[in-house]
């Protein structure tokens, strides 16, 4: 009997997400579809808006990573007006951005993705959340996570006015300088951040890496895809979140492309499918071969593991040591094991904290000169940053008066859309056999997409008791024959 499994809602990626799993007559997985059932059309309603409002409009795409859109948009305006911000303004932007990356990555590890490991992938759902994490690592740790998050978000608020949709970015700079007394406070937050990121890596080592079962899960074939990778690197090929060139490596780890943000259209193409509102980007110079991995498929991946895979290391010492340790432990580079995204995310969190500290202690950081007023006639601008969830592109065209005539956005999680579909299908095929669908197995299917920290992963593991997936199993003629709940 043919069956159909619907996982809906998995919530948010520009809203919501939905997974359809089709089983064959024997109850094995034949095909899965990951659908995004929402669209808002930011590219279109940006038309007619003054370009300088874009850093205030585009954050509304995502309230989880508004700082990313704000920063990317602001950089697109620098390019639009061909204005180079003062060195201090760039450093302040990167400082604010580092605080954001740190708190966002920590939120994911402790609240969203981490519970799968810390509490255990097959732990009862009631424990597989932040409370399960607390019971394993102690209540004071949870208090520290909440405090670190709040402090980092206060740093973002200091610059951005508000942490949900910051407003400080202007072409050529930032709206206000940093005062010495505020700098001192940020130094303390950053120091605490470095310590806490190291502590998170220690937890990962103790609980995950010392557990053979988990290590086997990371290294196993269920969560593995040999794809291309993309990410921003600095001039030394080190990971950078704020600026640099985009580097792409092959599944074998060879440099496939290295390009400037302005050249993205020569490298990235998006495909449209009738069954999802989200588009599927792929490497233009490899081509679309379907939802498959390998060197002949243009599917690429972004976000923490991808960024580490395309780089030669981290630009700060503690993170560099962790980078070396990860590749020494996992053996190969690039690492294709999707669950290693979690490890890479923690290494990046440490880098973000170290970078935040470096910038907060920079001799120039309190310089009051933080704006260069643009004078060029605007025409076209492209900005890129690394979002927690991957490479983000904002591309604007304007008339001579700086009014938007065209806007194109390639949003971070969207880069991973094809790979997420593939990862879900592979995990489902490996784990669901002969119609046997248990709660624990479903969670392991979920783990396939949660590793990417796509926006909709926020859907899980925050409050006690339940996760947001449920599965209905239908007979061929559409009658529901079984419900597998998750709570």
């Amino acid at each position: 009997m043919s069956k159909r499994i619907t996982i809906d809602p998995i919530t948010r990626l520009e809203g919501h997400g939905k997974i359809e799993i089709f089983l064959d007559d024997r109850g094995n997985v034949e095909k899965t579809y990951f659908q995004v059932p929402e669209l808002r059309g930011f590219e279109v309603f940006s038309i007619g808006r003054p370009a300088e409002e874009m850093p205030r409009i585009t954050p509304k795409i995502c309230g989880v990573c508004p700082t990313t859109h704000h920063m990317c948009s602001t950089k697109a305006l620098d390019d639009l007006y061909k204005v180079d911000p003062p060195a201090t303004a760039k450093k302040l932007r990167e400082l604010m951005y580092s605080a954001f990356m740190l708190e966002d990555h920590m939120l994911h590890f402790f609240f969203l993705g981490g519970p799968d490991f810390i509490a255990g992938p097959s732990a009862p759902p009631a424990e597989r959340n932040i409370l399960g994490v607390i019971s394993k690592v102690g209540l004071d740790i949870a208090g520290k996570v909440i405090r670190l998050r709040r402090e980092c978000r206060d740093v973002i608020t200091h610059f951005g006015g508000r942490v949900i949709h910051p407003v400080c970015g202007l072409p050529g700079g930032i709206s206000k300088p940093l005062k010495e007394e505020d700098r001192l406070r940020i130094v303390d937050v950053a120091k605490n951040g470095v310590e806490f990121a190291q502590f998170a890596l220690k937890i990962f080592e103790d609980i995950v890496l010392k557990n053979k079962e988990y290590v086997d899960l990371i290294l196993g074939d269920v969560y593995k895809h040999a794809t291309y990778y993309m990410g921003l690197v600095d001039k030394n090929n080190k990971v950078n979140f704020y600026d640099g060139d985009i580097r792409v490596v092959t599944p074998e780890g060879k440099e496939f492309a290295r390009f400037k943000p302005g050249e993205y259209l020569s490298h990235i193409t998006e495909r449209v499918e009738p069954w999802s509102y989200v588009k599927f980007p792929y490497l233009k110079n490899v081509g679309w071969k379907g939802f498959v991995d390998g060197i002949d498929s243009g599917v690429y991946r972004v976000a923490p593991l991808a960024r580490l895979n395309v780089s030669d290391g981290m630009a700060t010492p503690l993170a560099q040591a962790e980078f070396e340790r990860m590749y020494a432990t996992l053996g190969l580079k690039p690492v294709h094991n999707t669950l290693a995204f979690h490890w890479a995310r923690l290494i990046e969190a440490l880098y973000a904290a170290e970078r935040m500290l470096e910038l907060a202690q920079d001799g120039e950081i309190t310089d009051p000169h933080v704006r260069n007023i643009p004078t060029a006639t605007p025409e076209e601008g492209i900005g890129v940053v690394e979002a927690p969830r991957g490479t983000l592109f904002h591309h604007y065209k304007t008339d001579k008066n700086g009014i938007i005539t065209e806007a194109n956005l390639v949003v971070a999680t969207v880069n991973n859309a094809a790979a997420i579909c593939m990862s879900i299908e592979k995990a489902a095929k490996s784990l669901i056999r002969e119609g046997k669908v248990s709660e624990g197995l479903l969670n392991m299917v979920e783990m396939a997409f949660r590793a990417y920290d796509p926006c909709f992963a926020c859907a899980t593991h925050i409050l006690p008791g339940k996760t947001p997936l449920f599965i209905n199993i239908y007979s061929k003629n559409g009658d529901m024959i079984k419900t597998v709940g998750k709570g």
Binding site: G15, R56, C62, G161, I373, G485
Partner: protein, 324 residues
């Protein structure tokens, strides 16, 4: 006594309203202690069937954020209305339509045409666009229908209260929750925030122009922004005079002007029109030519004056392209 049941649901939103709950930080534990969440998709499981199985008005209060843009969102809003004693429109999008409501200057076809056909990164030789129903080998895949227009929540269902802001600030959220739990609520239809204008509490109020002195409107990127002086006095569009107070002047603290996410006070019908009148009263022009010159320096007045409130405004949407 059983804890009151609470739903927190999102429609056409960004997730920022959910973050605003997480940003309650330590306070969120107090909230969890006091109420039972029956729906909270950012945080926990729920099944549509479970909601349908509830008695009418069994949910004490539903906080709904986001505008209404798809049939699925409209369906959920209606279902929650039926099952809830109180419905609160949470955040600027549910309250006013929000920034995504600027899409009402366009329609569905224009959005699909650009996003899936004309965007420079798209390659779509067969002109594929997402469809409500797609037949694949294994069966039909469905997507909710995408509407031509963004609606505010109260254009789709009856709303009892409004919690304003993009996103609502923590102090107003806690106050609203406490008011609901204690039953100490203002009249139906109230916005749960102070009913005076933002300028009222703004630190820059002493420099606010009291008479017609503005000779030129300037754009934020064109000038160095004085961190202490009223933006209007600097010739910069700031929506403060037409915007409700209660946000803590968050944007102004970052040395950037207000864009009006709290909507207007109860005495104002249309936020954009109110701002236009406030602006007119400080513009210094002696003849029509001068007026023309000054107003020409205001770029995109519709987009900026209705940055958050186009769907809730008297304009609501661009009419000549509506084809629903």
């Amino acid at each position: 006594m059983a804890k009151p049941k609470v739903a927190f649901y999102w429609c056409a939103s960004c997730g920022g309203c959910e973050e605003s709950i997480i940003d309650l930080a330590e306070n969120i534990l107090k909230v969890i202690e006091a109420v039972e969440f029956v729906i909270f998709p950012v945080a926990m499981d729920f099944k549509m069937k479970d909601v349908e199985a509830l008695h009418d008005r069994e949910i004490a209060v539903s906080f709904i954020n986001g505008g209404i843009r798809t049939e699925e969102q409209e369906h959920m809003a209606k279902l929650l209305r039926k099952k809830s004693g109180i419905v609160v429109a949470y955040g600027a999008c549910a309250h006013l339509g929000g920034t995504p409501g600027l899409a009402n200057f366009f329609n569905r076809d224009m959005i699909f045409d650009y996003v899936y056909r004309k965007a420079p990164s798209v390659e779509n030789p067969h002109n594929i666009t997402p469809k409500p129903r797609t037949a694949v080998k294994q069966g039909d895949l469905t997507l909710p229908k995408f509407y031509d227009t963004v609606f505010t929540l109260d254009q789709v269902i009856d709303v009892d209260y409004y919690l304003p802001g993009c996103a609502p600030p923590p102090d107003l959220i806690m106050k609203a929750i406490e008011a609901i739990l204690s039953g100490n609520l203002p009249p139906k239809g109230s916005v749960l925030a102070p009913d005076k204008s933002l300028c009222h509490t703004c630190k820059r109020k002493p420099t606010k122009p009291e008479k017609a002195i503005i000779k030129e409107i300037r754009r934020v990127h064109e000038v160095l922004l004085d961190p202490d002086r009223c933006f209007l006095d600097q010739g910069i569009i700031c929506m403060g005079p037409a915007t409700r107070d209660g946000c803590g002047e968050r944007c102004i603290n970052a040395n950037m002007p207000c864009r009006g996410c709290f909507g207007s006070t109860s005495r104002v019908e249309d936020q954009g029109a109110k701002f236009l009148s406030a602006l007119a009263s400080v513009i210094d022009a002696n003849d029509e030519n001068e007026i023309r010159k000054i107003t020409a320096s205001i770029v995109d007045p519709a987009g900026v004056f209705y940055f958050y409130s186009l769907p809730a405004s008297m304009l609501r949407r661009r009419r000549n392209i509506a084809n629903e």
